[in-house]
């Protein structure tokens, strides 16, 4: 008994494949002028359908079936343990410092603040010359931060406690895109930054010189998010965009290694599973999904009929058992990654949750919202 999805993909390719065959014939005859944009597009669609068929062939079991023998999760209680107030406008992004307690956050009014979130003290603050600072990142050493947004750039600020020094004075402009900066991340050192932009590309930069080391082309629209693979040997990262695609890249060559296109809308957030063998995505289609890199396919969907607003940011707990997702309906849903069910819903924010990250040692997670606050949950 053929599963219904297989039949669907056959339907899709039955007509276009004729065009594909014709195009192939004509190509061999050397009539390249007949390759119109439309026929290329059709050929691409048809191949995508065939690729999905190939991927489906080795899909012999569902994740929740395999997870039946795993113990169900008990009562789940997480509360807000800290509320960070100080931004005068929507909080758009945050990142943790490796010291497990400091964070950097950025907002719509251009303010970037470094907090010791344990004491809730603000330690540094700088005002960017642009609004909508949608990306910020903490350097691995803890000595600098990077941020950017509607200025189309990514800038690095060394953190100084010298009262005579103006943080903005030492600012270094690193990345230059032609549209807004949506995400940025340091690699394994303070000296390289990876960026994602509304101009449809990602790029790797040398911080010291501002030199472009590698650029990544392949998305069909704005790139909204990225995450570096946790591997010790690998040199890959995943990105998600408005073209509904999640793409895995080789940092060295700039090539796209794998691509997944199963979401129905913009992908706002991507995050690797702790083992590095998979990654999760959050989208405006109100679902989160899990993609396995070795099986080369989507292996789980986290959705509920009552959840109709987009997921803006996702992150895993340390063991990867839980997926925390912040939504545009002001809530945070906690998913059982293996069983596919929702474990809990957390209320508290009074506007969209725009950013969410689990702390480096997994003891808590931080959420930032359009309600101007950040919350630490544990």
């Amino acid at each position: 008994m053929e599963p219904s999805w297989a039949l669907q993909s056959l339907d899709r390719i039955s007509l276009p494949s004729l065009a594909f065959e014709n195009a192939a014939e004509m190509a061999t005859e050397g009539l390249h002028e007949n390759e119109t944009l439309a026929s290329l597009k059709t050929e691409a669609e048809s191949l995508k359908g065939k690729l999905e068929e190939e991927r489906a062939k080795l899909h012999d079991v569902e994740l929740h079936q395999v997870a039946e023998r795993v113990e169900a999760l008990g009562q789940f209680v997480m509360k807000t343990r800290r509320t960070l107030k100080g931004h005068g406008n929507k909080v758009l992004c945050m990142d943790w410092c490796k010291d497990k307690r400091r964070i950097v956050s950025s907002s719509q009014d251009g303010k970037v603040i470094v907090w010791d979130s344990f004491t809730t003290n603000k330690e540094h603050a700088v005002t960017m010359p642009c609004t909508w600072v949608m990306a910020c990142a903490y350097a691995p050493s803890g000595c600098a931060i990077a941020c950017g947004g509607l200025d189309n750039k990514c800038s690095v600020y060394p953190l100084t406690f010298d009262k005579n020094e103006n943080m903005a004075a030492k600012k270094k402009s690193v990345a230059m895109h032609t549209n807004y900066l949506s995400a940025c991340s340091f690699t394994n050192s303070d000296m390289q930054i990876l960026t994602a932009s509304g101009d449809g590309t990602c790029a790797l930069w040398d911080v010291e010189s501002g030199q472009l080391l590698q650029s990544f082309h392949g998305h069909g629209a704005d790139v909204l998010c990225l995450d570096l693979a946790p591997s010790e040997t690998g040199n890959t990262f995943v990105s998600g965009g408005c073209d509904k695609k999640a793409m895995v890249w080789d940092m060295r060559s700039g090539q796209c290694i794998q691509s997944f296109e199963t979401h129905d809308s913009d992908i706002n957030s991507v995050r690797y599973y702790p083992s590095g063998d998979a990654f999760a995505s959050g989208s405006d289609d109100a679902t989160c999904r899990l993609y396995d890199l070795r099986a080369d396919r989507e292996v789980a969907i986290y959705s509920k009929e009552s959840i109709i607003f987009g997921a803006s940011s996702v992150d895993f707990s340390l063991s990867g058992r839980l997926l925390f997702a912040g939504y545009n309906d002001y809530t945070i849903n906690v998913w059982d990654v293996l069983k596919g069910s929702r474990v809990s819903i957390l209320f508290g924010h009074e506007n969209r949750v725009s950013t969410l990250r689990v702390s480096p040692d997994g003891t808590a997670f931080c959420s930032g919202s359009w309600d101007h606050t950040l919350r630490i949950w544990a």
């Binding site: 191949l47 065939k50 343990r81 000296m191 702790p274 109709i308 997994g362």
Partner: protein, 466 residues
């Protein structure tokens, strides 16, 4: 660069939630499975086809199997987006889980309707309100009225004429209908022209898919690349799902005990008890590591390598085996891969001198093919020139040294001496809040004496807990 908002050009494209909300609304009005509508009394007037706030909350609970809290939250969002409006207190778009009457908004006024709410329409609406009852305009409506009066002064006669005409037509209607139409309009304008300071549900953030600033061109090259990618991808080897998914189960088993959110942490989670002992005991360099931490080094070679303490122990072990240069070489290669662009040639040369040159003091044992390739490659040094050699040494350590490390006396002693911290329960008395001490910022790279001057003292203001 435009910022999408209530007055924007294509405001609804970024909101797939609206079509989902509309499907919900439609099923709420289903004659069989939807909400039971009846007449609701508003003072002396009877309004047909209405429901109570309670009805809405109950229906959502039943339909989606959610809690009352979630149902109320969802219902509130539906009202805030203008799909259901209150008949009592129509100036406040909130859902009350009581007998307050509500009605479904007419599709003409649905938030997803493509036609933008024009200034003219708004002016007519405000004029109507003003004419009908002086002082009926809310604060921000008064301000908007005055602003519009100035801005479109040339068409003001038309505005007033339209307003009067609409009012006249409305007088012909039954009182119940008049109230409904007023509430419908009021709700629509509250969504499209919210009072200043109040969050607008239509606000969306920076515009996406602006083709003028994009570097993407959906041209023939783009599709050729996609076709090329698909062809390559078809041929790649995949792993059966059953095997991959087993991996998650195993990973889960191994790591759940180490996951503080899942299994708690000893002595306690600092965020919950305000006690930072957990962080002190798990600091990057500590005299006696915890048992969980030492156990984790046995899960995977990368766990041992990423933990600075683990790496230090690995180095000690490798020294005993006279292969410490492998780890040093690997670290030097990492420095190259993630280092400054300007220092590449310098670092490559340093690596060559220390590890690869014939007679080098810390010569690494790589196979001859890789060595040949590498030596050739460093003639034109670049960031990835050591990749092959680095991988070879990494695999050597992982496949060869690592298993021996786990069986070694060194590791077994570490396990035996590792501590299991005793549990500290959360303080019973909520008013005796523990002082939250600050810690030195990593950005303070100063000698010990100076650092002491700059470390902030304990805070005096405890944060409120929810």
């Amino acid at each position: 660069m435009t910022v999408g908002g209530p007055r924007g050009g294509h405001p609804r494209l970024q909101m797939p939630c609206l079509s989902k909300m509309e499907r919900m609304i439609v099923s709420m009005q289903d004659p069989d499975m939807g909400i039971k509508m009846r007449n609701q009394r508003l003072l002396i007037t009877v309004i047909p086809h209405a429901m109570t706030g309670n009805d809405i909350v109950e229906w959502l609970i039943q339909k989606y199997g959610i809690s009352e809290e979630e149902s109320l939250h969802l219902g509130n969002l539906i009202v805030k987006h203008g799909y259901i409006y209150p008949l009592k207190d129509p100036r406040s778009l909130t859902l009350r889980a009581d007998e307050s009457p509500y009605r479904f908004q007419t599709p003409y006024f649905w938030t997803s309707t493509k036609w933008p709410a024009t200034e003219l329409d708004y002016a007519i609406y405000l004029a109507k309100k003003n004419i009908r009852k002086q002082g009926d305009l809310i604060e921000h409506e008064k301000d908007n009225y005055n602003l519009l009066h100035k801005r479109i002064n040339h068409t003001w006669d038309f505005v007033v004429m339209q307003a009067r005409e609409q009012l006249r037509a409305a007088k012909q209607r039954r009182k119940g209908d008049r109230i409904v139409i007023d509430c419908q309009e009021q709700a629509y304008w509250l969504v499209n022209r919210p009072p200043p300071g109040a969050p607008s549900v239509l606000e969306q953030g920076p515009e996406r898919r602006n083709c003028h600033t994009s570097r993407v061109q959906l041209n023939m090259d783009y599709y050729k690349r996609e076709i090329e990618y698909c062809r390559k991808a078809m041929a790649r080897t995949r792993v059966k799902s059953s095997i991959c998914l087993e991996g998650y189960i195993k990973f889960n088993e191994q790591y759940v005990p180490h996951d503080p959110i899942m299994s708690g942490c000893l002595p306690s989670n600092p965020w919950i008890t305000d006690d930072t002992t957990y962080w002190a005991m798990n600091a990057p360099t500590v005299l006696t590591p915890t048992k969980l931490r030492v156990e984790r080094w046995g899960f995977d070679f990368s766990e041992l390598l990423t933990d600075p303490l683990g790496r230090a122990q690995l180095l000690e072990f490798l020294k005993k085996e006279f292969s410490a240069e492998n780890l040093s070489f690997w670290e030097a290669c990492e420095e190259l891969r993630y280092g400054e662009q300007s220092r590449i040639a310098e670092i490559v040369d340093s690596i060559y001198q220390q590890f690869l040159a014939p007679g080098a003091t810390r010569w690494v044992n790589i196979d001859s093919k890789t060595m040949e390739r590498t030596l050739e490659g460093i003639k034109t040094p670049h960031r990835y020139v050591m990749d092959d050699a680095q991988m070879h040494i990494y695999m050597l350590m992982k496949k060869d040294s690592y298993p021996r490390f786990l069986k070694s006396e060194l590791y077994r002693n570490l396990l035996a001496e590792a501590v299991i911290p005793p549990e500290t329960k959360k303080r019973v008395f909520p008013f005796m809040r523990k002082q939250r001490h600050s810690s030195p910022s990593p950005a303070l790279l100063l000698p010990a004496g100076d650092a002491e001057d700059k470390i902030k003292g304990p805070t005096a203001v405890p944060e409120e807990e929810s």
